[in-house]
């Protein structure tokens, strides 16, 4: 195995873990750090996918992670809520810190901590993963009722509210099979919101959609970002990142190469790798 090429973080003034240059004033809507990822590494067998990632997400911040496929951005997202157990490192969300422990990953205690972690982080998938045997509203109230022990009427009221937010209140009694891809993803967003997570994690939420359906999902996500939802989005939609991101993170070979405000990273990148990536991306 080749020695991992670790980034020299000290030599990158613009890419400390917070993503903001020291001394610069944060945008006013951004609050305290709520997600802290430290020294995250992940091996799949001997494939070193994440090579030491440090990342902080602040309240009401929208962070977009970009990079070519295979750069580790999806793995990073999946490690944050432990759908993949990281090999090394720790994740802290809203005061709950969990250290990777692959040897004891299956222990009851660790699993319960992971579950607590997931209650703080909602996840959206490329393939939506709605439950096909439940109606739209059934999808939305399942976990609030059975995990958060909300009453059916309370959970339903809240589900209807969030379905309204994503513009699908009229589809509440449909089964997922009768919805378009864009509608499915919006229901999935409502379902995640019903759990009132501290942060929403989006894993390429529009990659499985037909081009004409991407817009409706991005619009909902942009609304969420502007209304102060804390979110981390792995995406290939550069225009969307430009519009909705507070910060853009560029990853390559399992490390964060560069991060900062979208206008800087996307329009005036400081690193050659970022320039390469963006040029190739825009050429398509």
């Amino acid at each position: 195995m080749t020695e991992p090429r670790l980034p020299d973080l000290g030599a990158r003034p613009a890419s400390g873990t917070s993503g903001y240059e020291s001394g610069t004033k944060l945008p006013s809507h951004i609050g305290e750090v709520i997600v802290r990822v430290e020294g995250l590494e992940k091996y799949f067998a001997d494939n070193h996918v994440l090579r030491g990632v440090d990342l902080e997400i602040r309240q009401r911040e929208a962070v977009m992670i970009i990079g070519r496929s295979g750069s580790g951005k999806t793995t990073l997202l999946r490690c944050i809520n432990f759908l993949e157990e990281p090999t090394v490192g720790s994740v802290e969300i809203d005061g709950l810190c969990l250290v990777a422990d692959p040897l004891r990953a299956r222990s009851r205690q660790h699993q319960e901590q992971i579950r607590q972690m997931r209650l703080r982080a909602g996840m959206l998938f490329q393939e939506f993963n709605l439950f096909p045997h439940m109606t739209v509203v059934g999808n939305c109230i399942e976990a609030p009722m059975r995990v958060l022990r909300q009453s059916r009427s309370h959970a339903t009221t809240r589900a209807e509210y969030f379905l309204e937010v994503v513009g699908l209140a009229d589809k509440r009694d449909e089964y997922p099979a009768r919805l378009s891809g864009g509608q499915k993803q919006r229901v999935a967003i409502a379902r995640a919101l019903c759990m009132e997570p501290k942060v929403l994690l989006f894993d390429e939420p529009t990659s499985a959609l037909d081009p004409e359906l991407i817009g409706e999902v991005l619009r909902v996500m942009e609304d969420l970002a502007h209304s102060g939802t804390t979110m981390v989005v792995v995406t290939h939609e550069m225009h969307f990142a430009q519009e909705a991101a507070d910060r853009v993170v560029f990853m390559e070979d399992g490390v964060i190469i560069e991060q900062g405000p979208p206008e800087q990273v996307l329009n005036d990148p400081r690193h050659e790798e970022t320039t390469h990536f963006l040029r190739r991306f825009l050429d398509r």
Partner: protein
């Protein structure tokens, strides 16, 4: 397409082709039914020509034998329910990472698949009471337990495949919502797995209708038992068994019809 003069001619050709195809289909169907009737008639003629076939006896006793199909169906329905429950736990064991659960489940499947159903029926009805009087069972419960136990093992593999057919993303989505593992299985994976395996369960049920004849040997008064009992006194064994066979056949045709419709509905799906 050629237009103009050739067009009416072409339309006529298309109509003729269509007519020929419809005619062919109709002829095939007629031939199919004809062959079935011919074979049946041949068999009936063969039996009546021996002069040993007592049609009056059949008329008198057929309703009695037919009455046994109620017990047959009851035994099968209860057995398949027991089998489904056992198969769910068996399948969970087979995919479990807990070595004890895996070992128990594998032992169960191996033991049941490695011994004849007939022997299992004997052991549950005759041998278990020898262990303890508590294990003395009536014929019907013993038959149901034996059939359910046996089919549960075979259906374990069906359920294992059904559970593994549920996309991984379904589990991940449920986990991401903070659902504990047990809830993920009960509310998300199992309902979808059952949907996948329902046609296969229907199939097993039809096979079981015929295997259930074996429980007649411990005195369950189902179809075959009634045929044997009514046929023996006056040596109408032949007629009795023919009637029994026809009833089994009719039962499987009826349930196959429903099973076929079920399968079609499942295939259409509501995903």
């Amino acid at each position: 397409m050629v237009t103009g003069v050739g067009e009416p001619h072409r339309a006529q050709v298309l109509v003729d082709i269509e007519k020929a195809q419809v005619g062919h289909r109709r002829r095939s169907r007629l031939i199919f039914v004809g062959v079935w009737i011919a074979i049946l008639a041949g068999l009936v003629a063969a039996f009546t020509s021996t002069g040993n076939t007592d049609l009056e006896w059949i008329a008198e006793w057929a309703p009695f034998i037919l009455g046994g199909s109620g017990i047959t169906i009851l035994v099968c329905v209860l057995s398949i329910v027991l089998a489904v429950v056992l198969a769910i736990f068996g399948a969970l064991g087979r995919i479990s990472q807990n070595p004890v659960a895996y070992a128990i489940s594998s032992f169960y499947v191996s033991l049941v698949r490695g011994t004849p159903l007939l022997v299992q029926i004997y052991i549950i009805y005759f041998a278990f009471p020898a262990i303890s009087p508590v294990l003395i069972l009536d014929a019907i419960p013993a038959g149901i337990i034996a059939l359910g136990f046996n089919y549960g093992a075979y259906m374990t593999e069906i359920f294992r495949a059904g559970i593994q057919a549920v996309p991984r993303g379904q589990q991940e989505a449920a986990q991401a919502l903070g659902m504990p593992q047990r809830l993920v299985f009960r509310r998300v994976v199992l309902p979808q797995a059952i949907r996948v395996v329902t046609p296969a369960i229907g199939n097993e049920f039809i096979v079981m209708i015929k295997d259930s004849a074996l429980v007649s040997i411990i005195g369950v008064q189902e179809l075959l038992w009634r045929a044997e009992t009514s046929g023996r006194p006056a040596f109408n064994i032949l007629e009795a068994f023919i009637v029994a066979a026809l009833v089994y056949w009719a039962l499987t045709i009826i349930f196959s019809f429903f099973q076929g419709r079920l399968e079609k509905r499942m295939a259409r799906g509501d995903r």
